[in-house]
Each structure stands twice: as C-alpha cells, then as structure tokens.
Amino acid sequence: MSNVEVRKADAAGIAIAALLFVLAGVIAFDSSQLQISSTYGLGPKAMPFVIAGCLVLLSIGNLIMALRGELPERESSDPKAILLILGGLAVLIAFIGLGVGFIPATAVLFAATSTAFGRRAILTDLAIGVGLGLVIFLLFDKLLTLSLPAGPIERLL
C-alpha cells in the first residue's frame, strides 16, 4: 500500500475502541454474577457473553481503523452550543426533580436551545417557552389525561 499516504493515528478513534472494550468487560462481569441457569438449552448468560465477545472483536476493528487513520475527517465544532443545550437539559431535570414544575423547566430548555442556535433574545425566548409549556401542559393534562410533573404554577391551572 505504498501509494496510500500514511495518515496519523486518531486519538478519538482509540478512545472509542477502549470504550467498547470496557463495555465488553462490564457485560462479561455482570453476567458472570448471574446465579440461576436454565435447565435445558441456553441460560441467561449465553447472549451477554456472545455480545461481549463480539464487542471485543469490534473494539479491535475500531482500534485498527483508528491506528490507520481511517476515521472520517471531522469539521470544527462549537462546544459552547453543545454545553448550552446540555445545560438547558440539566436545568430542566433539576427543575422537575425539585418540583419547580414543567412549564418553567420547558421555558429554560427552550431559551437555552434557541440561544445555542444563535439567537440573542433570552427574555423573548423564555416567554415563548412559557407559552409553549402552558399549551402542552393543558393539552396533555386536560385533553389526553396524561399527567406531567406539576409545580406551583401548574397546580393553579
């Protein structure tokens, strides 16, 4: 393969291979803890062990690809946008967990995502988020009778 230019080993690719290997280890360890087996045929351990074995093979395959630099090229990526969206999601989870309610949680996620996509109007977006959350809450609660997490605002409705 002399005509193929030598590309650098890919650190991210090596990390993916390592993750797959660890995952295989976790599966193998977890299934080795299972006590009861079936009388006939395959027990509950068989499938996990097969999957773990294949993951080890795939980990090696991914490692080879990474060392040969065969991963697709990646364009630059904006970490701020990702952190904003994940942050919005984290606040949503915290709000619902602390009982602040569905509507404020939705408003925060809406505004955070919208900011991540380049808008700079947090107050407007928060207001839109509140409106959207309100409509969804009423739709689910009254029309579909599916309960969404309620806080002080929702209990007033």
């Binding site: 005509n3 991210a12 690719g13 993916i16 995952l23 976790v26 599966i27 977890d30 299972l34 087996s37 079936s38 006939y40 045929g41 395959l42 509950p44 996990p48 999957i51 294949c54 795939l58 395959g61 690809m65 065969e70 991963l71 990646r74 364009e75 630059s76 990526s77 904006d78 970490p79 946008a81 990702i82 904003l84 969206i85 994940l86 999601l89 989870i93 619902i96 569905f102 939705t106 996620l109 809406f110 505004a111 995502t113 919208s114 991540a116 996509f117 380049g118 808008r119 977006d125 839109i128 988020g129 959207l132 959350g133 969804i136 689910f140 579909l144 009778t145 599916l146 969404l148 997490p149």
Partner: protein, 499 residues
C-alpha cells in the same frame, strides 16, 4: 382472489370516519415533519407513542403509517428547495432537484416528485396486498430457529452490508444489542446490566432511545456546526405544472424506480439509499438528455423519488408478515404494535385481519390524500421552512422531553435521554449509523428469546440451527452478507492499486 377479498374488508375498516381522520392527521404530520429539517418520521412516531397509548390501536397504526408515507413525500420538498435532504433516501433527489429549482423549474421538480411518489406508492402498496398473504403462508412454517436465523440476516444487512463501513455499522448494532440486554431476563427473572437501578429493570424504553438519538443528538450536532453550514431556500418560481414534455420524460423513470424500490425494500435488507441510487444511475445511463444530468434533469428526480417511496412501502412487508423492522421508522412502528400487545406476524393476520387489512387499505387512501395535499398545497408546506432554526430546534427539544416524561415520568429517564443525546451526537460526528442501534434494541431481545426457545425444544442441541433447511439457508445468507463487504472492499482496493 383471497387477497382482494381481504383488501375489500380492510377498505371497509379504513373508510370509517375515525380512521379516515387518523389517516389525515398522519399524512399532515408526516408531510410537515418530512419538510422540516431535523425531524424525520422515525422521531415523530417515537414522540407520538406515549401520546397514543390510550387511543384505539387500529387508528394509531393507520396514523403511524400515514406519517411514514407522508415523511417520504415531504422529504423531497426539502431536498429540492434547500438541498439539505432530510434523510439519506432523498440524497439522490437533491442532486438534480435542487439544480432544477435553481434554474427556476422548482415547480415541475416538486410535481414529478409528488406524482412519482403517488404512482410508486400505489403500485408498491398493491405489491404488499399480493406479497403479504403469500409470505404469511411461508412464515407459518417457521420455527423459532428459523426466526432467529432471519433476524441474524436482518441484523447483518441493516448494519454491515450496505453502509460505508461494516465495522462501524456492526459497532452500532452491538451497542443496540447491549442496550437490549438491560433489564430482567424473562426466562429466569434475573436482572441483567441493571446495576441496582429500579428504572432499568424494565429495560431501556425504546421511545427514550429513539428520541435521544434522533432529536437531542441531531440538535446537538446541528448546533455544533451551525457556523459551517449555510442553508439557502430556493423560492418556487414559475409554473407548478409539468409540461407534456415533462410527463413524457417522467413516466418511465417512475415505473423503473418502483421496480427498484419495492423488492429491495421488501427484502429484509433495509435502507432506501440503495434503490434510490440504483435508480439515479440507471436514469443517467438511459436518458436521451445526458447533458442535462448534473444540471437539473427531471428523470433524476422522478426515478429516485419513486424508488424512495416504493421501498418505504416495501419495508412494511417484512414488518407486517414477520415482525421484522428493516428501517428506523419500521422499528418505531413495531414498537407501536408492541405497546398494544400486538405482535406482527402470521398470527396477527389470522387473529386481527380487520386491523392488518385496514392498515394496508388505508395506505391507498393515505397516498391519494398525499397527492392532493402535496400538489396544490406545496406552497403552504414551503412556508414551514420559514420557521427560524433556533425556534424549530428549541421546539423539537421541548417535545422530546415531553414525550419522554409522558412515557415514564422519572428523572432517570430524562437523564438517559440526555446520555443518548450525547451518544447520538458522537455517533453523527464519528459517522456511525444510528438505525442499527434502534433495530438492535428492539430486535435483540426477540432474537434471544427465539434462540433460547429453539434450544429448549432441541434439549440444548445447537445443531437445530442447521438442521432446519430454512434456518441453514438464512444463516448462510447472513454469513455471505457479513463477509461480502469486506471481500468486495478488498476487490475495490485491488482495482485501485491496478489503476
């Protein structure tokens, strides 16, 4: 003609006002999400699963099928007008369609796509009517070992055979299979990979995985590279209608596209990319106007669009007759069946003919609705593209969390949504396919239970897998499908070296 009789009975079910309404909602939603970038039919069905939990199964399934068909129609609009195909199946359409729109022939491009989709959808649905009963007859004779072998074929073809890289496809598949292990083992009642978390005992919710991968993952990915990609919307100029010349150049590509799309979709091979690209290259070869290809040839829109729709209809054949999903949307539809305790397969045709045939008959109705919705109303759909991107994705994320909370109101579920979102983002960034994960999660546990059932019946003799001729053949096919991409790639390399 048993099939025609069953179809007539199905038609009686499908034209009930409630079912007509569900079909209409389905095609409206489907077209809307097909047009909007960032949401596809698989995600839409995933989001609707918890909402439709309390509705009538027949109606909801008709709606899901409408979303599937509608998504295929709507996707072409986006591909033609902004050159960002919503799904990979519209990529071939975008090649010529966007060029036509730039040359002021956006109207005829949209028209040939819509009419081609209608022609292909109708022929392919007729194909379902005749193929399904026959396949059901075959499937009745399947033992558990044969089902297991069939699922092996589906696993391999969905992940390895047709993707860019078999290793990456298989990696996705096995991540899905691993997720499928989580939860209580049905035969012995022991928890696997649950790590003492009670929420994990029931297994991973398919809705959470699909919504995380498709909605959150896509939002993260698009947001992270917003500074690179600039989208421009081509306005529809000039007449919407096709000239006589356009018709003359379109009808043969429609029929050829259907011939590519339906069989490939109906085989448990998965993916609409292959037939659309086969159709594109065939039209390029057969056309009388080769100089127009690459600059906006109508054949290059008509053929692939027909192939795309025909293959979508084709994937319903293995889904309904064998319970075998070969695309992400089909996997979500299978989840839809399962949430009502229904298992697609020969038994369902025998037990609930009203439901199955009502669904098939409603596909014809959905096709007619879509033609009407898409031709005169295309201008309305295009307006959807004017929604500012920040609001669009913010809205998608809000609906994603609502869908998850409604399915299972717990913080762990929402956290998993975030984790799957990050996973979806990383998979997009490193070019791992998403659909095999979903198919692995939903089909993995079924395959395991079929295998274990087969082994119980044979008292633990693994030879049962090769003693049944059906199973032996299917396993051989799976082996060939697994090895072929590696060997063929080797051949490709050999050729390249020779040059």
């Amino acid at each position: 003609m048993d099939a025609l009789y069953s179809l007539l009975q199905g038609l009686a079910v499908a034209i009930q006002p409630m079912n007509l309404m569900f079909a209409l909602i389905g095609v409206l939603l489907g077209t809307a999400v097909g047009v909007l970038p960032g949401i596809g039919p698989a995600l839409t069905v995933a989001l609707l699963l918890p909402v439709t939990y309390k509705l009538d199964p027949g109606g909801s399934l008709i709606m899901f099928a409408g979303i599937y068909y509608g998504g295929m129609y709507g996707g072409s609009t986006t591909a033609i007008l902004i050159n960002t195909p919503g799904e990979s199946a519209s990529m071939a359409t975008a090649l010529e369609g966007n060029k036509m729109a730039k040359a002021g022939r956006g109207g005829p491009a949209l028209a040939t796509a819509a009419i081609g989709s209608f022609v292909a959808g109708t022929i392919a649905t007729a194909g379902i009517v005749f193929l399904a009963p026959w396949l059901v007859e075959v499937a009745v004779q399947f033992g558990p070992e044969d089902y297991f072998a069939l699922m092996c074929v589906a696993f391999i073809t969905v992940s390895a055979t047709f993707g860019d890289s078999p290793i990456r496809g298989l990696t996705s598949l096995f991540i899905g299979l691993t997720l499928g292990l989580i939860g209580i083992d049905k035969l012995t009642g022991q928890p696997r990979l649950a790590f003492g978390v009670p929420e994990l005992l029931d297994g991973i919710e398919i809705t959470t995985l699909a919504v995380g991968l498709f909605a959150v993952g896509e939002a993260l990915y698009v947001a992270s590279r917003r500074h690179i990609v600039q989208e421009t919307l081509e306005p529809v100029r000039g007449s919407l209608w096709m000239t006589k010349e356009d018709w003359k150049r379109s009808w043969k590509p429609w029929l050829r596209g259907t011939l590519f799309g339906f069989p490939i979709g109906a085989l448990p091979a998965g993916g609409a990319e292959i037939p659309t690209f086969l159709s594109y290259s065939t039209e390029k070869r057969l056309t009388k106007y080769p100089e127009e290809f690459g600059k906006g040839a109508i054949e290059g829109v008509a053929g692939p669009e027909a192939a795309n729709n025909a293959s979508a209809a084709g994937t319903l054949v293995p889904l309904l007759t064998l319970g075998l999903p070969t695309s992400a949307t089909a996997a979500m539809m299978l989840a839809g069946f399962q949430q009502y305790g229904l298992n697609p397969g020969p038994l369902l045709f025998a037990e609930r003919p009203d439901l199955v045939w009502g669904l098939i008959a409603s596909l014809f109705i959905a096709n007619i609705m879509l033609l009407v919705l898409n031709l005169p109303l295309v201008g309305l759909w295009v307006r959807l593209l004017a929604i500012p991107q920040p609001w669009l994705y913010a809205g998608i994320l809000v609906f994603a969390t609502v869908g998850t909370v409604a399915a299972k109101p717990s913080l762990i579920e929402l956290t998993m949504l975030g984790v799957f979102g990050v996973m979806g983002f990383l998979m997009r960034r490193f070019d791992f396919p998403i659909a095999p994960v979903v198919v692995g999660l939903i089909l993995g546990p079924v395959a395991e239970s079929q295998l274990r059932r087969a082994m119980q019946i044979s008292l633990g003799d693994p030879l049962v897998l090769v003693q049944s001729p059906i199973s032996a053949t299917l396993l051989a096919i799976a082996a060939v499908a697994l090895i072929a991409p590696f060997v063929l790639r080797g051949l490709g390399r050999f050729k390249a070296a020779e040059d």
